[in-house]
Symmetry: C2
Subunit: 296 residues, 2 copies
């Protein structure tokens, strides 16, 4: 089936594609682990063609991309709109292609000058969220490799902050001395809650709390599921401690997949919040659709 | 020249050997990057033989080892003495060898039950320090991959804490998204001091301070030497914030090489302290020598 256009969320680790039909319905999906981190600029078109080929007709098909494909190390660099701004505050930029069946454009990111911060991809999820909740005034939290806390008001991104929580978790659990303590199944809910509470009240203890996981594993055979929950709780607690000005007394919506949003929801619940939860994939598609309609 | 005995500091990343003559003088030195992290139990003897061969006679030569060679993943597991204890509180354990010219023993580490903590190798530097300063009452700080703060009194290790500061610096600068911002020469002293001060007063900001380095690199071309100094200052400041009960109002001695002790000395000087500085290699040898004398 030929697509009217193709939506793409091309991040550091993954690519997600939706083929959109004439009525705006999703007629096909595809995904790949060929994220920006694994590609040089010449590598994008072949990956896109391989996945999108079945949906291409004789004429050029529009492909609209959000995410890290627009980074300096990506396919082609897209600019940043400067916050405060609409989440889709600048027109997309064209990416060069050899195949005449592709007409590719990449959405800009959003930057902030003080404190210096950037996002690429999350702004499109914010746009998708606002398409369905145009009057929302509050905080969007998008957990991930680089978690974002975004203050949204009057349809604009007012300010935002990025936390390297997910990347720290990934590095510590796979590359550091803690990998020995974390190798194994399981999850300990109360260890998570306690570690989050300690990190929020004593955030400076991070580097010693981390090593304690190793020491407790050696000395008392700390279970891997408990160690992993404590690592997650420690890092998320640290993030919540710093993001307190964002969530305290605010309406908060969490955006992402359940693996990411659940621990944040639990840690926020312990602070008396009851955040709404929204699926990040759906919102990315909604944001790309809104950007497509604005172009038409 | 045949050694009377051989001293070895065998850590995670490196091995350092000293051949000791009949008068206790150093008659030879050797080192290797074949640390514990790169070896399985059968790999230790060949590495030791290759370096020590020129110093071996017909009879068995004693080799006394401190450090991670005694870890569970090392040559043979040596126990932990439980703090509070003398830094050489337990006898060494024998490591199996095939070559009859080697008689290898590994010194135990020190553990602490609450909070759970362990050290292997640093206790021997502490013993070496105490051999030269037997009346010392105060704090020893040993910066490194896993920095140690050790409260020493009446010739004993009273308590200690480990911080993963060096490992975090290494992972973040080589494996994380920050590697792009840090790639290049230089060092910015005032950026270090400012980052250390911010981390001490607002430790919870770690995960967002880190990402700011990436964002400032993208948006304003932050110099790599400034980014690296800010990363170092942030992580050392976080450590000092948590170690405050150790150093506040105390006599502090820093133990290590100049690359490690200098930034700690500067960050502590900003807090009004004037720590003594001692070379870690010399103290490891002094500690191994003291252990050897206790065995004789």
């Amino acid at each position: 089936m030929i697509a009217s256009w193709i939506a793409a969320d091309w991040g550091t680790s993954n690519l997600r594609l939706w083929a959109i039909g004439p009525e705006g319905e999703v007629i096909g999906r595809a995904s790949s682990n060929k994220g920006m981190g694994k590609l040089d600029p010449s590598g994008y078109e072949p990956v896109l063609l391989e996945l999108a080929e079945p949906w291409l007709g004789r004429h050029a098909t529009d492909v609209l991309i959000c995410g890290m494909a627009g980074a300096r190390q990506g396919w082609v660099e897209a600019p940043y709109a400067a916050a405060p701004c609409k989440p889709a505050g600048l027109p997309p930029v064209s990416a060069p292609t050899d195949d005449p069946r592709l007409r590719v454009r990449i959405l800009p990111g959003v930057s902030q000058s003080d404190p210096a911060d950037v996002m690429r991809g999350e702004e499109t999820q914010v746009a998708g969220f606002l398409a369905g909740n145009p009057a929302f005034d509050g905080i969007l939290c998008l957990p991930g490799t680089h978690s974002k806390w975004v203050h949204v008001s009057a349809g604009e991104i007012v300010s935002f902050r990025t936390f390297m929580t997910g990347e720290l978790f990934s590095l510590l659990s796979s590359q550091s001395v803690l990998r020995h303590a974390l190798h194994g199944e399981g999850w300990d809910e109360s260890a998570f809650a306690q570690a989050a509470a300690v990190a929020m009240s004593r955030p400076e203890r991070l580097a010693s709390s981390l090593f304690s996981l190793r020491a407790a594993s050696l000395l008392t055979g700390l279970a891997p599921g408990t160690a992993r929950a404590r690592l997650s709780g420690t890092l998320i607690g640290l993030e919540l401690a710093a993001a307190r000005p964002y969530w305290l007394g605010q309406r908060v919506a969490l955006i992402g997949g359940p693996l990411l949003t659940e621990p944040y929801a639990k840690a926020l619940a312990a602070q008396g919040l009851a955040p709404e939860i929204h699926d990040g994939e759906n919102l990315a598609l909604a944001g790309l659709t809104a950007a497509r309609m604005a172009l038409a």
